[in-house]
Every structure is written in structure tokens, then in C-alpha cells.
């Protein structure tokens, strides 16, 4: 009995911050499906699950409350339902009582992890990060970084992010190429040391803080003024999460690649006569409010026609990979990305562009596997294709 009480107190610690909000859920059910104003299913993964109440926000809030109150046993099955959520924030965007649902769900994960309820896959990821500095496990035999980018210090630190390094090296090459064309004084963060987001997303805050401290120390050695990244999660970590944690404060200026490129590419782009649509990564858009810089970058490309999908900006539909879903529920993630790719096809886009390694990799896998005519590209890849070489000054 004592152990059970202790566990309840432990579970409650993180969730208690959102106790008031959890009790404010009125169970209206507006977080399931709209079919109105370009919003289909509010929860992107719900239609690809058995669709129990526990597989969209209303039920998950109830489970968070049950966790808070120690009302039910935490089972592996419950954890699976908890981690089918991509933390995309679309439910929070469409909640009529303005509940901070993403924060609640994150705090719920934190509470579950603190109480030792951690899915096996998450333990594996944490182990890899601790051992190898990346959730993707042992390093490849070959150096994944372009040789000329190894530089000890520079004004600009390009942080590629572990998903780009392992899953989308073409993105790293594209940004390196852009920086070279622009003649920038930069160094590539060429060690695999995770920003910590994979652990943050699954509620393992202690692990997040530990790896973040290590990565921050390694970044400080480069003596850069600006950190540039194309990964919204890394961007969120450096720009917001580190600054909110005691011991992780820093003085770096942090820029997403879209913000960084915008003032530097004017009148340097060749024409690209193509119909292109922009996918708002959930972290970059809904969580951080960065909707226009990537669109403004695309608008600078002569002859490029930028079109919006049915859901965009605040109502943008998740690719299905966020929140660690691609670690724990790969079938759900694969089915969810299909919905988004279809939205791109429906507006006649030739290229689906984003700037998030998770989204990009899922799109790339989908269009290749389905042999679609649609092309998936990252913002940096597209810009690198049309950016002129630096001319002599």
C-alpha cells in the first residue's frame, strides 16, 4: 500500500502543474473530427488507430487525470495509446476552452516516465543516446560529415541534428553547399551529440537535461555567435527549452535555416517554374509560430508558384512522425503521412517542401514507396538547387 501511495505521489509531481487545466476539459469532443474549414480529423493519428476514446485528446485528458488521481493501473497498452499522440498541437489549436493540451500530454508523459512506466523502445533510445550520442545507435563506418566542414571555431555553428545526419544526409550536404556558396564563416557540428528532444518528447526529463548539458558544452567550444539548424526540434531545444532550464542557459543566437537564409539569398536565385506547397512542421509552426519565413524564402524563387494545402498554418496537418510516434507506432505514422501527401497532390503540387527532418524523411519514404509523381524536398535542398555560386566581390 505504501509503495502504491508513493507511486501516486510520484506520478502526480509533473502533472500537478496542469491539474487545473486537466479538470477544465468539458468533454465536448470537438477535438475528434471537424470536416469543416479545411480541418478533417483534428487528431491526425486517430483515424489510423482502432479509434477508441483514448486515441484522441478527450480520452487522453481523462487518462492524464486518472494518472494524476492514481485511479487506474498503468499498462503497456495504456502507454501505447499515450504514445500514439504526435504532440502536434492541433487539438489545442481547435479546443474551444483553450486547454494547453500539448503541455498536458507532455506533462503526462513526464509523470509516466518518472513513475517508471517507460515503453521498451524508449528505454532503447535513451540507452543509444547515452552510449552513442544519438537515438539511431552505433555510428556508421564512414564519417557522415563532409571533410572540409571540420573546423574548430567559427562565427556560425551549423547544427545538423541527428535525424538529418543519419536519415537525410542530402539535407546536410545541401546546407553545407549553401553556406559554401554564400562564403560564410561556419563550422559544422560534426559530433553526434543529441539536442535531447527525443528524450524530452517521451517525458524523460532527467535524460534530456543530461544530454542537453553535454551537447551545450560541446557547442560552446566552437565559440560561435549564431547556431543555425534546419531541424525544428533542435531549434526548439536551443531557442526555448534550454533557456527554460536552470543550467542550460546560453547566449547563442538561434536561427532556423529559413530565418537565416531569408536576408541572404535575395536576387541570387535562379528561376524554378514549379508548383510547390509548403508543409508547416508542427514544432516550427504551431509550437514556435514560424509560419512566414519559410514561405518568404520560397516566394523569393523566381517563377515558383507557392500553393497552400487544405490545411495550413495554425490548422496544418501533422505528418504523423512527431512526439516519438515513429519510434513506437510506425504503422500509425505511415498511414498518417499518407493523408498529408494526398493533400499536397490535391492542390496539384509538384513538390512538397518542408524543413524538418522527421517530416521530410516520412514524405520521401512515402512518395518513393508509392511511386508518386510528387517530389519531396527540404527547403534547403530546393534553395541549394537554385542558388547561384558566390560571385567575386
Amino acid at each position: 500500500m505504501e509503495n502504491k501511495d508513493a507511486e501516486r505521489r510520484q506520478r502526480a509531481a509533473s502533472l500537478r502543474r496542469y491539474e487545473r487545466e486537466i479538470y477544465q476539459c468539458t468533454r465536448c469532443g470537438f477535438c475528434r473530427v471537424w470536416g469543416w474549414k479545411g480541418v478533417g480529423y483534428v487528431c491526425p493519428t486517430y483515424p489510423h488507430t482502432p479509434a477508441w476514446e483514448t486515441e484522441y485528446a478527450r480520452g487522453r485528458v481523462r487518462l492524464a487525470r486518472a494518472t494524476l488521481e492514481g485511479e487506474i493501473a498503468i499498462t503497456d497498452d495504456l502507454l501505447r495509446h499515450a504514445y500514439e499522440c504526435t504532440l502536434c498541437g492541433n487539438c489545442a489549436e481547435h479546443c474551444p476552452v483553450d486547454l494547453p493540451l500539448t503541455d498536458i500530454f507532455h506533462a503526462w508523459r513526464e509523470a509516466l516516465a518518472e513513475a517508471g512506466h517507460i515503453p521498451e523502445t524508449h528505454r532503447l533510445i535513451a540507452g543509444y543516446i547515452e552510449q552513442y550520442g544519438t537515438p539511431y545507435g552505433p555510428p556508421p563506418d564512414a564519417d557522415p560529415f563532409p571533410p572540409h566542414t571540420h573546423k574548430e571555431t567559427a562565427e556560425i555553428l551549423f547544427y545538423p541534428g541527428c535525424t538529418n545526419v543519419r536519415m537525410a544526409p542530402e539535407e546536410v550536404e545541401a546546407i553545407v553547399s549553401i553556406f559554401d556558396k554564400l562564403g560564410l564563416d561556419y563550422t559544422l557540428f560534426d559530433v553526434e551529440s543529441c539536442c535531447g528532444i527525443p528524450l524530452y518528447e517521451v517525458g524523460q526529463m532527467e535524460g534530456f537535461r543530461a544530454v542537453a548539458a553535454k551537447t551545450l558544452e560541446l557547442m560552446r567550444r566552437r565559440r560561435a555567435r549564431v547556431i543555425v539548424t534546419s531541424c525544428p526540434s533542435c531549434y526548439q531545444a536551443f531557442k526555448v527549452l534550454y533557456q527554460a532550464e536552470e543550467g542550460l542557459h546560453h547566449d547563442f543566437e538561434v536561427q532556423h535555416i529559413s530565418e537565416f537564409l531569408l536576408p541572404r539569398i535575395k536576387d541570387r536565385l535562379n528561376a524554378l517554374p514549379a508548383r510547390v506547397t509548403w508543409h508547416d512542421p508542427c514544432v516550427l509552426g504551431r509550437h514556435l509560430g514560424l509560419y512566414e519565413p519559410p514561405r518568404d524564402v520560397l516566394r523569393q524563387v523566381p517563377a515558383l508558384e507557392l500553393v497552400e494545402m487544405a490545411s495550413h498554418h495554425e490548422a496544418s496537418q501533422c505528418c504523423g512522425a512527431g512526439g516519438g510516434v515513429f519510434f513506437t507506432a510506425q504503422e500509425v505514422a505511415a498511414a498518417t503521412v499518407e493523408d498529408r501527401v494526398k493533400q499536397a497532390e490535391e492542390v496539384g503540387a509538384q513538390t512538397l517542401v518542408t524543413s524538418c527532418p522527421n517530416c521530410y524523411v516520412r514524405f520521401r519514404q512515402n512518395v518513393r514507396k508509392s511511386r508518386r509523381r510528387l517530389r519531396a524536398a527540404s527547403l534547403a535542398m530546393l534553395i541549394n538547387d537554385v542558388l547561384e555560386e558566390e560571385t567575386a566581390k
Binding site: 479538470y23 477544465q24 469532443g29 469543416w36 479509434a51 483514448t54 474551444p96
Partner: protein, 446 residues
Amino acid sequence: MEKPEIIRRLIDIVGAEHVTDREFILLTYTRDFGIQPPRWPAIVVRPGSTEEIVQIVRLANEAGIPISPRGGGSAQEGGCQSEGGIVLETLRLDRILNVDEDAATVTVQAGITFVRLMAELERRGWKIGIAPSGAMAGTPGAHVSRPGVGWGNIKYVSQGDQVVSLTVVLPNGEVLRTGTAANPHARPFFRYGLGPDLAGLFIGAEGAFGIVTEVTLRMYPWPQQIYLERYVGASLYDAVDIFRQIAHHNLVCYISCPLIEPGRVLFDVNIEGDRPEVAHRLERIRAIVRSYPDIKFEGPDGPQQFWQNRWFLTGEEFQQGIAGAVNYFLPFDRLVEATSIMREIMLRRQIKRFAQQMFPEPTGSEHVNLLFHYPGDQEEYAKIRDAADEMMDKALELGGAPYSKGRQWAPHLERHLGQTGYWGALKALKRVLDPNHIMNPGVLGL
């Protein structure tokens, strides 16, 4: 029959991924959108067709386990709860089966949400008459079972009035189609004919006599113009006078009166039609309102903005918490008195947050009292439960008729109607149609 065997048989019917008795999932089916205490079902099942529901109902009879149908779980009176039985969720039945532009009807499965249905019809240039304010979560099967009021109350009366045909799985597992669709050679195009109007047995019955699996509703060409404007005044007497005249002359699609406070009443009128028709109706409404100098014209901007985001904004009033709802119909001449009496009860019982509203019908009005609390505030919850009990009794004494009854109104209905022929007939019908008493027992007091 033991539960494992029932589950095994249900899996045979609908497949393993659509049956559960997992505790953490059952928890989320213990309540609806209201204040009824939690009731734990033994099993939740999500069938995908009328045929599967037939088999589930037959199994329930064989096993002696009750079934409670549930749509979006967005009603407020506990009608979709089950104590130890099967909750049968209809959300997989989410297709539009037929848009009949010849008869101007739309046939849908019971579990499609209203906003999805209406968006599709609007795309085709059509609309339905009535939509619940909770249209984002609400479903036609559940709505006709309440019997369904909402936006459109004056012109279209209620969802029950919009029904052309229902497909119902009866408590013995037989399938009944009402209206012209009862003729195997006919499609649903007229509610009456062939015999008595059996649809009426299921409208407002909340699943006591069967599970509605398909609904055919009338539909209407999308109007050329939808115009709204707002009025504010101090006198509820004046406002109700205006409602009565507008309703009698059938001048609007609906009147919404979402705010009634001492010395302040606010209402919107919604007019639809072609442009000359809207202008003519508006002129007549303004002429009526001009007779009441206290009622001030507030213009169209506020309600027009509301209309643009109506399905979302209806949820915003619940920022005050979960609402204990005491909703009933009254004739126009009892509305002012009822507002005052209900307010007195809520104040005397020291309810912290409440709202009073009216949504007029052609012959009276829905009178709404919402008593808000946040879950976890047990003291306020207890006060609200007590106040609601007193208010339900008072509403029936005033000559009111509850809108959605669920389990919340059951003891009150039995107390006030128990000796009537109506109640006796309902009980007799229940015994005949549902001899094993498996169909949503306890709802309506049956």
C-alpha cells in the same frame, strides 16, 4: 453467459480491434458531456454496420446483458451510460449513404457527425434543417433520439420533424424501416403512409425501443442569403412577446437567446431565403421590435461573426466548466416565470456559475439552465446535483417537458407521470418490444 464468452462472441461479430473491456478505455466511456455520476460499462463495442448491430442485439438477448447506444458522447443527461452492460458506440457508422436530390432527402448512417454531413451537403448546394449546437461531436442517430433541437428551431422545429425515415434495430434484433422505406420496393421519400408513423416511437426515446442505425432527413436548397442581427434589452417580458410574434408568423430560421440576466436579455435572429424574402421578413421583424422601445438594435456584426465560426464558438460557453443542464420546453406564457423560479433555486443553493438561455420553437421555447463546475470541485458538484433535482421537479410542475431525458430525468418523470396513461403505455410498449429489458434500461425511467 460469462463475460469472456460474450467478448469472444462479440469479436466474432465485429473483429477483435472493435471490442474492449480494458479498464483504461472503459473509464473514458463512463460519462457523457454532463454531470451524471460515472457508470462503468463491462464492454464497449464499435460495430460497423446495421447487420453487426443485429447480431450484437441478438447476443445481448441470449446473454441477458444490456446495451446502451452512444454517438459522440456529447449529450448531457447520461443517456449513453451503461452500468455493467455494453456501450455500443456508433461512430464507425459514419457514411452518407444517399443524397436524393429528387426527393430532397439525405440518408446517413447514425454515427456521422453533423458538421461533416453539413459541410458535404453545402458543397453540393444543400442543407439540413436542424443542427445541434454541439454539431462538431453530435451524430444524427443520437440527435433524433433526444429528439433533436438546435439551429433552425422555428422554421424547421426539431430534428424529429425532419425525419423522413429511420432504420432501427429492434430489441429482438429485427430491422425496422419506417415511412415509405418500409415497402421493400420503395426508397425513403415520405414519412407517412402504409400505416402508423412508427418513426415517432424512436424519436426522443433515447434508445429505449431500439438502436437507430440509419436516418433519412429532409434537405433544402442552400439559401441565397443567411442574415443575422442582434437585439438587446432589459425586459424579458418584451423579449418573449417578440419571440412569440416572430414564431407565430414563422419569420425566421431561428431565434437564439443565449443570455438572460436580470435587466438584460440578448437575442439574435437568423433569417434565410432569397434576398427579397429576407428583406421582407427583416422588415416585419423590425416592425415588431419597434413596438418595444426598450429593445435596442445591436446590428449584424456580432451575430454574423458568430455565424462564421458557429460550430466552434458553441463550445466556448463551456469555458465556465462542465454544465449540469436542465433543459425543457415550455409554452411562451410560462417562460418569464420559469426563468425567475429557476434563478431563485440556483441562487438559493449558492451555485457559483450558471447561465439561462432560450431557443424558441413555433409553439413555445426550449428553456435552458446551465450550472457550471470544474470536475474535482466536489462541493460545487454536490450543490449542482441537488439544484438540478429541484429544478427538474419544478420544470415538470410548471408544465414543462424535458428535452433530453437520459438517466437524469428518469426518477422525476416517473414521479410526475407515473399514474398517467402515457406512462402506462410506454411501460407496456417496453415490455412487449423489449421483454428481456436489454435495450438501454433505465433511460427515461423505463
